[in-house]
Symmetry: C2
């Protein structure tokens, strides 16, 4: 199993029929969501790392739009869209359930995940494109973080999901892992320890979670990656393992 | 219960605690999705029609972003986002289940609903904004319709959900109800009877469904509404009942 990201001209690795296989990228936060669910449930799966700036032709035979994450199932069927894959895994594999059992609590968590997508889109603009860190972007991120800070205060904790991380924790985690990067790109506000006390504590606890640790990338490597991405030559292979 | 759309300056109708209440608009396809689920499950609910071009102030106390559909639950909690509400209702009320029980079939249907959002966005551009019915828009809609035509061929039918309409049928229906409008705004391609034989037949069967009939609006009224919307004074009250 290659630990390097495969590019155009590569051969698609042969599947291990009967085993899940995730088409992914080490720096893709949407893919990381699916890793977190698979790892929280301690499922066995193969990975195929894909170079997103020079996609292999065979990717389109797996995922019609060339999108990752794409999860190949035991029978050869393929699912895509991170949230749809996450829900599928939670419904299919009952160990370590991630969504609340109560339909109302589940729906409310899904609304929060949906709301978080505004933060996601804004972070993407600030970190990876030339969009300036203007007041509007700043407001969107601060409003988003405040919603989640308040939410943690209302809940029993220590995680959004309760005693252990649940679906909401894992679905927002990839961008929270990258929150410190905002400081380095001109933001003073991101995860301020006084303003977002509960979120900062939550982040510390998430860092110790076994599933989170499996895909955790240190801030220094995130910075290097973002710099390479901004320079137009994303170094997907800059971390080993 | 007012059958007219309420505007700024109106008083919010008092809730019937213990009964579902849907904040909706007769011409909003996203709201229609929630009506279809409620009606398919034969749930009792009150409705509050909202004027989207002159929203009542009290709407923001119900739905923080002023978005509809918003479903007020028996306990006063409020859910929004049409797909999240639809999933909630299907999980909470087991009569007439709409999603497939099998997690894989359910995930595949959710991917199709997600794909359909491209058709939705393009129809919106063509019908309600000044966006021209150009080749790109045309291709997006034709590709979308072809995906669904093929999908119907692969399935047992007569509906996407099987013997009766399921979640996928209802979630795409509001835009299919409006498909004929594309012809009137310059498109010759929409739901061509030879090219999309199965979809056209499916549409005929959907027209007979009891839940669909409850919110069905005739094409003439849809045209009048679109003309009023394009003129800048949307006539939400142009149909009675």
């Amino acid at each position: 199993m290659s630990m390097k990201h495969l590019s155009k001209g590569s051969r698609m690795p042969s599947p291990n029929r009967g085993k899940l296989r995730l088409f992914t990228n080490k720096f893709c936060p949407y893919s990381q969501r699916v890793h977190l669910v698979l790892d929280a449930k301690k499922l066995q799966y193969d990975v195929v790392y894909v170079n997103l700036s020079n996609k292999p032709d065979w990717l389109y035979s797996i995922s019609p739009l060339g999108k990752i994450p794409a999860l190949e199932l035991e029978n050869g069927d393929v699912l895509y869209e991170s949230l749809i894959i996450a829900d599928y895994l939670d419904e299919k594999y009952h160990q370590h359930p991630l969504h609340p059992k109560d339909p109302l609590r589940k729906a409310k968590d899904k609304i929060l995940i949906e709301q978080f997508s505004k933060v996601v889109n804004t972070m993407y603009k600030i970190l990876l494109t030339s969009s300036r860190n203007n007041d509007e972007n700043r407001d969107i991120i601060m409003e988003g973080l405040e919603t989640f800070e308040k939410e943690l205060a209302h809940r029993q904790g220590p995680f959004f999901g309760g005693a252990v991380p649940g679906m909401l924790d894992y679905m927002i985690w990839p961008w929270c892992e990258r929150a410190d990067l905002l400081k380095l790109f001109g933001n003073q506000f991101a995860l301020n320890k006084d303003k977002y006390k509960r979120l900062v504590e939550w982040k510390g606890r998430m860092h110790e979670d076994a599933a989170v640790r499996k895909t955790l990338i240190d801030t220094e490597s995130h910075i290097k990656f973002i710099q390479s991405h901004r320079a137009g030559i994303p170094e997907y292979d800059l971390i080993s393992g």
